[in-house]
Symmetry: C2
Subunit: 231 residues, 2 copies
């Protein structure tokens, strides 16, 4: 019998934010897969370890999912790693692929899931707390109430149009664009149009909460979620 | 010493989707507050009970948060209920207010939180899995990948403009508007522009997954999350 491929969300950073279901899935998986070669530097692994100490004794398969804008290289890498997971699933092993936040939101697991589904492999997504919900909670604010909309946008592209949308804007994955985004937010903030919060390393010991665009750090070494509310 | 007001998200429906932190908060709270008068009919209570059986023996404070479009009546009701929570917090009790999904997304807790913050009461938000992440997982789909945006929109207003946004659209709280929304989705689906999934009672025993706008039930008795993806 074939195994199952589980995509397990471990939440943004606090080990206590794992769900009971995620804890169970990690405990029951035969093999745990990580999106980083060095498990000690893998944030998803560290978060999960805090909730499931016996993870230390599990069989781990860790590959470096490098971030690149080279679409062809990315596809090649995903296919290559997927072949290894597939071989295990076909042998009957249940595999748990760990991912920060929730597997349905900008996760590396998404690529693997698509390849697995195309091969008829059974896939199950196990949800995690998203970093935007975690960041709003850490900031003590709501993302939406009444009839407000929320827009989750990738900071990897031009966000000018998105910033004009009504409701709350969440900017994720800003990475190297962060200084440019900060500049745009500062301008809108100075005009009294928006209020800005940002959370780096949400839920981790290194968590920092920034109030106002000016406070957002210019460098991209942080996992950063920016929340923009209308004034 | 004053107590703390916890807003505890219990996720969309599956008791196993509570986080470890939510379980702990429920266990430690002196009083549990529910947004429905009859706890046996309160979905948040039933979800939490599945994860924390001892909740049955906790002191419960349950008021009927009626849904009304009358803003003044709504405000009066929230203020009235809040006064009762406030009295307990001032006496030093820790209060855990249960809410479906996540407290930062369209939750009743938001109103109470604002009133408490204005009074200088300590508030802590404890995240839950959102119904849109839960519904995507149940449908076996991703909400976003690469540079795609996700728009969380309230189905209580005119959604024509929102449906034109690029990326994934999640329609929540459609309620009595569901038949009208379904009609709009059917038209776009027939033009081959969108793909539609909907999940009723996500995570509950009564969960139903609908593929395609045509399959969405016309009546509003369900807790329904609609996911619209671009083709």
């Amino acid at each position: 019998m074939m195994g199952v491929l589980y995509g397990i969300g471990v939440g943004p950073g606090d080990s206590k934010q794992l769900t009971l279901k995620a804890v169970e899935a990690i405990k029951e998986a035969d093999v745990i897969c990580l999106p980083k070669a060095d498990k000690d530097k893998c944030r998803a692994y560290q978060i999960a370890l805090g909730a499931v100490p016996e993870l230390r004794y599990k069989k781990i398969l860790s590959y470096e999912f490098e971030m690149t804008k080279d679409e062809a290289a990315l596809e090649e890498m995903h296919k290559d790693f997927y072949q290894k997971y597939k071989a295990l699933v076909k042998e009957g092993y249940n595999i748990g692929f760990l991912t920060i936040g929730d597997p349905t939101i900008y996760s590396t697991f998404g690529y693997i899931m698509k390849l697995a589904k195309a091969d008829g492999i059974e896939v199950e997504i196990i949800n995690g707390i998203t970093s935007f919900c975690g960041s709003a909670a850490a900031s003590g604010i709501l993302l939406c109430e009444g009839e407000e909309d929320v827009h989750i946008i990738s900071g990897q592209k031009d966000i000018d149009e998105a910033l004009k949308l009504s409701g709350t804007k969440v900017i994720m994955k800003s990475g190297k664009q962060v200084a440019k985004i900060k500049e745009k937010l500062l301008a809108l903030e100075n005009q009294g149009e928006i209020s800005v919060w940002a959370v780096a390393d949400c839920g981790m010991e290194t968590e920092q909460i920034f109030r106002g665009a000016m406070m957002i750090p210019d460098d991209s070494k942080y996992m950063l979620t920016i929340i923009v509310k209308e004034c």
